[in-house]
């Protein structure tokens, strides 16, 4: 080194500077005096809406955000109150939550766990959000749920369909209204067997992350139980946009069903590729080649256009449902935005109402109180019929819709028709089911 004269004075000075630097952080060990993280003290309460605004799930994210804004309006007593009128619990009064006006902050998850956690952290640390909700990808939902558990705020999962979210990665502070891959499999398999026969050979293309894996596992298990055979399962990267290279090998096999465990932009692209390669006109052993998309949404159906016709899948909710709750929600969403809501919008709207309602019933924003109010909570009137928030894993149990791409759509929104409403009993599973085992809720954390 160029200039290293060791003198007594120099060493002493250096030592003092270094010592002061090392000692500095130990001053800051006091934590704040609030009872729990971000206890709202003023006249407002802040909720954090963390949705993908870029990346493959951006469409879903935009629709989620619309639903959140609608929910906030309704909670604050603006607008026509939507599903608050049909909700079986009457704790919400339209004066905010516990008398505090609801405000919100938004962030972009970019459909990346890292970015999503950074965004959620800034909501908690900077904006004082007392609840985080959103996520249009299970990877992100699992990551943010973990963060909320550590930080001591409630996480109301948005669009996350992986078994892991309320399975091996479940957390005491995390709650999911949306259905999951197991339920899709349990609802879809009987319909598939009835329509396409019990001796089909399936080929799976699977998005390579937690949701894809559990979705594939669930569908394989459910269809094999009914006599299907699984020819092959191929993982595709989440960021892929061209699936041609994954489609061509299917033509070489004797598979007669293609299961696309893809969602959002992925599914639109893979389905389009599959149709371009003539899979739908293909005949195998004298039977039509079929394509199945286990998790369907209207936004995807619109993206895929013509290709979606006749394809079977499952969905959490669809705007064409005629019960009072769905009708009220479709009406107020349609009035505000001019088109019907997607299932992503529906589940996030419900989650916001459920959270607000739990706060009212608990009389506090304390995550532990809210969690207690949500656990084992039975409700109705939110569009899915009678629903239970199971205490064992914080998963909602409700009917599942099996849907089909409509052959003759009457409008650009009327793309799916409900084939069957699978009753809740058929999709209920034991909390210790092998597909969900390996995790623990832990204790609720209030920060």
């Amino acid at each position: 080194m160029s200039n290293s004269n060791l003198t007594r004075r120099g060493v002493l000075k250096s030592g003092a500077v270094a010592g002061a630097g090392v000692a500095l952080p130990t001053i800051f060990t006091a934590s704040s005096a609030a009872a729990y993280t971000n206890e709202p003290t003023g006249g407002t309460v802040t909720l954090g809406f963390n949705v993908p605004q870029s990346g493959p799930y951006a469409d879903e994210g935009a629709d989620e955000l619309r639903a959140y804004q609608l929910a906030v309006e309704h909670l604050n007593g603006e607008g026509d109150a939507g599903m608050m009128n049909t909700f079986s619990s009457k704790a919400l009064k339209g004066n905010g939550i516990l008398g505090k006006k609801v405000e919100f902050v938004t962030g972009d998850t970019q459909t990346k766990s890292d970015a999503a956690r950074a965004s959620a952290k800034s909501m908690i640390e900077k904006d004082g959000a007392v609840m985080i909700t959103g996520g249009s990808s299970s990877g992100v939902a699992v990551a943010v749920q973990g963060l909320c558990q550590e930080a001591g705020v409630i996480f109301m999962a948005g669009l996350t369909h992986s078994n892991d979210t309320t399975g091996k990665d479940k957390k005491a502070n995390g709650f999911r209204h949306f259905f999951n891959a197991y339920m899709s499999g349990a609802a879809l398999a009987p319909v598939l067997a009835a329509r396409y026969g019990a001796d089909r050979k399936a080929y799976h293309l699977t998005a390579d992350y937690t949701w894809g894996w559990t979705q594939e596992e669930s569908i394989v298990a459910a269809t094999e139980a009914l006599g299907w055979e699984t020819v092959n399962t191929v993982k595709t990267p989440l960021a892929a946009t061209d699936f041609s290279s994954y489609i061509t090998p299917i033509l070489q096999t004797d598979a007669d069903v293609l299961v696309l465990n893809h969602y959002g932009g992925n599914m639109v692209n893979s389905l389009t590729n599959a149709v371009q390669f003539g899979l739908r006109e293909k005949q195998v052993n004298g039977r039509n080649f079929e394509i199945v998309v286990p998790l369907f949404s209207r936004l995807m159906a619109r993206g895929a256009g013509e290709n979606i016709k006749g394809i079977l899948g499952s969905t959490n909710w669809h705007w064409s449902l005629t019960d009072a709750g769905s009708a009220a929600f479709v009406k107020s969403f349609g009035t505000k935005y001019g088109f019907p809501p997607s299932q992503a919008a529906h589940t996030t709207y419900c989650q916001t109402l459920l959270y607000a309602d739990a706060c009212e019933r608990a009389g506090t924003f304390n995550p532990c109180g809210v969690a207690e109010a949500l656990e084992g909570f039975e409700f109705d009137g939110l569009g899915n019929g009678k629903t239970l928030y199971r205490a064992d894993d914080h998963q909602c149990f409700k009917d599942v819709l099996v849907v089909k791409g409509k052959d003759n759509p009457t409008s650009e929104f009327d793309l799916l028709e409900v084939v069957e409403i699978t009753p809740v009993d058929q999709v209920t599973y034991d909390p210790n089911h092998p597909m969900f085992a390996g995790g623990a809720l832990g204790e609720c954390n209030a920060g």
């Binding site: 990346k112 950074a118 800034s122 640390e125 558990q149 937690t210 990267p237």
Partner: protein
Amino acid sequence: MLGLNNKDFRFLLIVIALTMATPILLQPFPEGSVMAQFNAGYPDLMQRFAIFGIFAIGFNILFGLTGYLSFGHAAFLGAGSYSAVWMFKLLSMNVIPGIILAIIVSGLFALLIGYISLRRSGIYFSILTLAFAQMSFNLAYSVLTPITNGETGLQVTLNDPRILGQQVAANGNVPPTNLFGLEMGSSFKLPVGAWEFTFNAGYYFCAVIAILAFYLSLRIFRSPFGLMLRAIKTNQTRLNYTGLNSRPYTLAAFVISGMYAGLAGALLASMDPLAGAERMQWTASGEVVLMTILGGVGTMMGPVLGAGFIKYFENIFSKINENVLHQWFSWLPDGLENIVIWVAEHFVGSGWHLTSGLLFMLVVIFLPGGLVEGGQRIAAMFKRKKADDDSDDAGHHPKQSPHVAE
């Protein structure tokens, strides 16, 4: 002092002072005011400033001194994060073992990649490092799923062994990351009038390490080794003709900067115990190149400034949504308000890339030396006035070569 000359030591003291006062400096607007949106003094972002500062300082040792442009440094960042999280899972939530392992692992990894990539220089070197980083990303993303947990990212869970520390904290949760008991997440909030300053243990931990990293890099810049690296940048062929083998020097620089990246990765994991594959993606590698160029290549302070600049945009501008814009522009007449908001919303929220891209272009076009050059020009404007008074014939003297610290 500390083996530095007076000028450098003063410079180091200024850096220390700035780093220590960051929680105050980044919180210039009172709470609740409209401008509070632009405050950046919350722990997560301050930690990121320090961590990406370290990352960029390390990158600058390679790129700034030797001129070798690596497009794969995110691979070392990712390797560091994964090693640290594995230490949290296996040993304890104390951050020290994680950081040590991360530096070793990323150093070895850099040795391997550097040994192969440094056989080429220029664009071929860049492409090789890019290829290696992309390979690492794909390995982490799908092939090595048992080690990396794929897209979801590696997280600590209640079932991890943690043989030296607590497996489950008293409150039934995963224990927080800590430094011998000092929790990284603990903060001290100091309300001063309308302001509230957050002093976070994790930030100060990162800051102290960042200062050490900065000091080490300053020593490298001033050392004969640093001079040799600069010679490589100036004319490697000539250096080779004099009979010197330059490869060990570039390899050493590569490994050192890889270790810096690993350290940054470990700190990221220490602040938030999660390691995701996207940390290794080529966009992350590109980001550190942008940071360095934006701040000023080959300067000491530049990369840190660049890192702060990009992280600020990523975290602050991306949070401005339509509602916030409506609040700002509510004083405009209705029709005009909607037009202004329609234009503005493309530059904030998810459009923050657009804003930072534009600024990056402006900086590169008008300030090729980065933000540091901007600072120097402003300083020169004041100095020139003084020089005129001295009536010194400065133009006829040989110019003093610019101080790298500036």
